[in-house]
Symmetry: C2
């Protein structure tokens, strides 16, 4: 697929950068800065500055949510099917913002960025950050862009950030869209992240995080972390549909330890391509931020947390998502109801597992459009 | 817990060894031998040689199923609660046999054994083996012991071997007990094994399998494989009950990449103790054998496979086992029914996940005793 000149594409887009010079007080009590934020915007901010939608990306996403960076780009942004003229996040109506998360490796300051004090990459001198810290940085960006009111929307880790936005900046957030997300990871979720981090930390080329510019990088560790991730993003059903028990090259087993089954080939491929686009240290930092996120613990209870919000909520989950299953979305919904908040909930039938939030566009589009049409905060003419 | 002198223990036991001098024709068409088998027996074979029970261990088990190897042993065999006088596998009535699987590292010939042709460990020159091959070796042992009729029983991978026994040696097998098992892994199951193997193969000290006698061993790779395994042996509920989101040392996060949550500490511990007792090459070979096992593919259908059996079947699953979920046991049961076989099925309510077959003794004991009491093959006086 090449650059789509069709009328529902945002077309050629550009990642821009904004630097916060003041230090930010992190959850760890460390003062950290300056922070540069990589971001993209689509559509136009209206005169009353209240037609913004902030998109929050998942674990390994970036600022490039929609459109193409060049005419010969093979792939559009990660949520291109959801963002554009007439789409779920309609750029004819809304000013859509997407930024790379703090600690990331796609333009926003993270462990691979140069520490101005040493002129070397931060590596593990980068502070451990939280979802709350990421939201603090996003708030500075949104203020810089002049936004007064906004919708926040995200899937998976993006949903955690959207929840945090709704609580920390309740005066600004009119509507919240949470997809395939949770208010806190289970022990099993932490366990999967921990094993992924272990694979990176155990890689002989990790070198205590100081691998930048070295001949060898902790590529296998990062690839293994990614493979574990991919198992959790799919589900038994989607893996069965995609690969079954089919062998890669013939109808017979290899009888060796090379790639044998198609599912092995898929995981190997996902691991290999991931190391070209993602930084191992960022993987450590961002999974840790996800592990730490716990609204109930921070606010006493989920109900207490949501009593601090002023927004309407749309919560969506997917039938085959076993990473952030429907029960976790329902927990959010029930706490919102207890807190007396306006909440819509939909469990979408999908065979795609957790990945469904990146794939099931048609249903998501209908639900998001219908939800946003009833927004109090924006112009919907 | 020390050596249990109570009347229901088999007491002090000893691992014995039997060597098959003739070469065995493996599924890969390779001729392989000699093979030494490590085994233990409990109870006495009767005059009609028809009161034997062969226990088949799971992925990382060994021949030491019951009793203690020394008076000061801290831990008994892996299924001690199930094997002994008056227990589920009653050694007052039965001659119970347990052997270490071909390719293992606990006495039976495997990749860490000395290749008589080179006088060095086989390492990756060991042939890739299958569940069928393991059963061929067990058959030689059972013949050597003089057994004419037997019950076969196993959990997880042990259940696969029990299924294979019931088909390959239908004339000898009177009763089959399959617990938390499957007739073939799903793509997801293969994926988990593949990532574990990847962690081992990527370890810098793996050295193409030739790490025996080296200063450094592929310990981190094997530990990571084990951690992934442990996530699949527990379940969300059991992890929540054991660890929740509790931190290891205090109520606060570390804000670093050391062990933070209790679940991380558990996984790290499981990884560390595993490398002391298990060989990385054996992990590769045995997981591969598990991946290859596929009764439907081999026999055309599961019904076809079971039409070759002459035994009674007991199939048990656990409500929270998501590695080999109840649906996979039901698939076996339905095929047995279609094949006109005598089958009992029970899904046991348990919060323990896949590990339940090693933990839920009371219920399993009741069901197994009741099943064996109706056996046609053995004396039950």
């Amino acid at each position: 697929m090449q650059y789509n000149k069709s009328s529902d594409s945002v077309g050629i887009t550009e990642t821009k950068y904004f630097t916060i010079q003041d230090k930010i007080l992190l959850e760890s009590n460390e003062q950290f800065g300056p922070v540069t934020v990589a971001y993209e915007t689509y559509g136009t901010l209206n005169d009353t500055k209240d037609n913004a939608i902030l998109l929050l990306h998942a674990l390994t996403g970036d600022a490039h949510a929609a459109g193409y960076h060049a005419e010969d780009d093979k792939k559009p942004g990660w949520w291109d099917d959801m963002v554009g003229p007439g789409k779920a996040f309609d750029t004819n109506k809304y000013f859509v913002i997407s930024s790379n998360m703090l600690g990331g490796c796609s333009g926003t300051t993270g462990p691979c960025s140069i520490n101005p004090e040493t002129q070397k990459p931060y590596a593990l001198d980068f502070p451990v950050i939280t979802i709350e810290d990421a939201v603090k940085v996003q708030k500075k960006l949104v203020d810089y862009l002049g936004v007064k009111k906004l919708v926040v929307a995200g899937g998976s880790m993006g949903g955690m950030q959207a929840l945090e936005w709704s609580i920390a900046h309740s005066d600004m957030v009119s509507d919240v869209i949470i997809i395939a997300s949770t208010s806190r990871l289970t022990a099993q979720g932490i366990a999967f992240n921990a094993v992924g981090r272990n694979a990176i930390l155990s890689d002989p080329y990790f070198n205590n995080g100081n691998y930048y510019g070295q001949e060898k990088q902790p590529e296998r560790g990062l690839a293994i972390a990614r493979m574990i991730g991919h198992i959790t993003y799919l589900c038994e059903e989607s893996m069965h549909n995609k690969f079954g028990r089919r062998f890669q090259d013939s109808d017979k087993p290899n009888f060796d330890f090379n790639i044998d089954f198609q599912v092995e080939s898929y995981l190997e491929h996902q691991g290999r391509v991931f190391v070209d686009r993602f930084d191992a240290n960022s993987y450590l930092y961002i999974t840790k931020a996800v592990d730490y996120f716990d609204l109930s613990k921070k606010h006493g209870s989920l109900k207490n947390a949501f009593e601090k919000t002023n927004a309407r909520f749309l919560v969506m989950s997917f039938t085959t998502d076993w990473l952030f299953p429907t029960a976790q979305s329902k927990e959010i919904v029930q706490a919102l109801i207890k807190a007396g908040r306006d909440v819509s909930f939909c469990e979408i039938e999908s065979p795609c597992g957790h990945d469904a939030f990146l794939l099931e566009f048609e249903t998501q589009t209908k639900i998001v459009k219908s939800f946003l049409a009833k927004s109090r905060g924006q112009h919907n003419d």
